[in-house]
Symmetry: C2
Amino acid sequence: MSSSRLQQLLNYFEDYWAVEESTVKLLRTCVLERKLKRKESILGEGQLCNHLTFVVQGILKTFHTDKNGNQHNLQFTSENKWVTDFGSLYNNKPTELCITALEPSIVLQIKKEDLFNLYDNSPMFDRNMRIITENAFIEQQERVLQHISATAYERYLYFLNKYPNLSNRISNIQIASYIGVTPEFLSTLRKKATA
Amino acid sequence: MSSSRLQQLLNYFEDYWAVEESTVKLLRTCVLERKLKRKESILGEGQLCNHLTFVVQGILKTFHTDKNGNQHNLQFTSENKWVTDFGSLYNNKPTELCITALEPSIVLQIKKEDLFNLYDNSPMFDRNMRIITENAFIEQQERVLQHISATAYERYLYFLNKYPNLSNRISNIQIASYIGVTPEFLSTLRKKATA
DNA sequence: CGAAAATTTGACATGACTCAACTGGAGTGG
DNA sequence: CCACTCCAGTTGAGTCATGTCAAATTTTCG
């Protein structure tokens, strides 16, 4: 794999802690690179999730398809963010989620066995995944709070404000699905926002 | 502190991993017990969150008060669950949340410094907090999914089904605030559910 | 027991969805 | 370069879900 892409991952970790040489060595042996075309998936409904994925370039969406066939976006994952389905990864349960590229993308992946091996051999890697997960939890909690206390209009403004780079790169249909409204209704919110 | 309550915490951890004697010793020195009356708070808006809290008995609610004075319940924490405000705890930021007992309760608390000490001296404790946080993340994600894809009625039925013991012990006003509807509307949903 | 809080009810207002139609831009093949 | 299709985005009419407010009733807790 391209060493510059592994380097991006290492730089990312350096923001959290000084990565030991032994961990770098482990990462070098187990990190897999994968290129994705637009609309290509790394996880499909009913499959087992076997990887932890780090986005080097591009944007992925994680969504659920309900019984009526409607898609609901749970998460966008762009550069230097992680994505996986924890429920499926840890409990060996078939996933109800799908992870798909919205743009041509490059990701790094760590297989489940290698991930567990990293946890066992690098306590600092383990710790950093704890911190990363804590931050992800905070973000989800903030989002729940929005849904129980704010209107769709407020949620939209919040999204624009929090993810300015995403809102330029993602279609409004995807944004509507993320904040939990129909594309038609988002359209009226957008008119209101520019008025 | 009562050793039986520390024992409950140790039993809890044993479900995850075999606790080493050195960690037990550390816990014995730093775990604080606290009794709470109904409506008593362990964290108030504007304060710094300095503890990780484990509920031995009772139920706490974590809520946010919006600019109109309305409370929105983010979380209920009952026996053998953890609660804290990660954002405030790690970033030393004043919290926007409040954690209050819904029943007379007994909790165990670990101060921030002791918590960091535990992380440093017990990699398995660190790991288990990672796993606990991952599970909490999954739960929040499921809740977000509900809000972007399900009706209030479906969310209510889901709550009843997922937390049968909570729904008996908590007033409907609290449940309404948790699922994100007004108490009046929850009342109509309840009528529908028993019809 | 008595005060405070929880729950219910009903009339009315508004937020958000559905469906169908229309517009306009981005690719694609001839 | 044009004609074509496809998809994103918008608009509007009608409808349903949910909120607001006020009041009456019941339950809970000190």
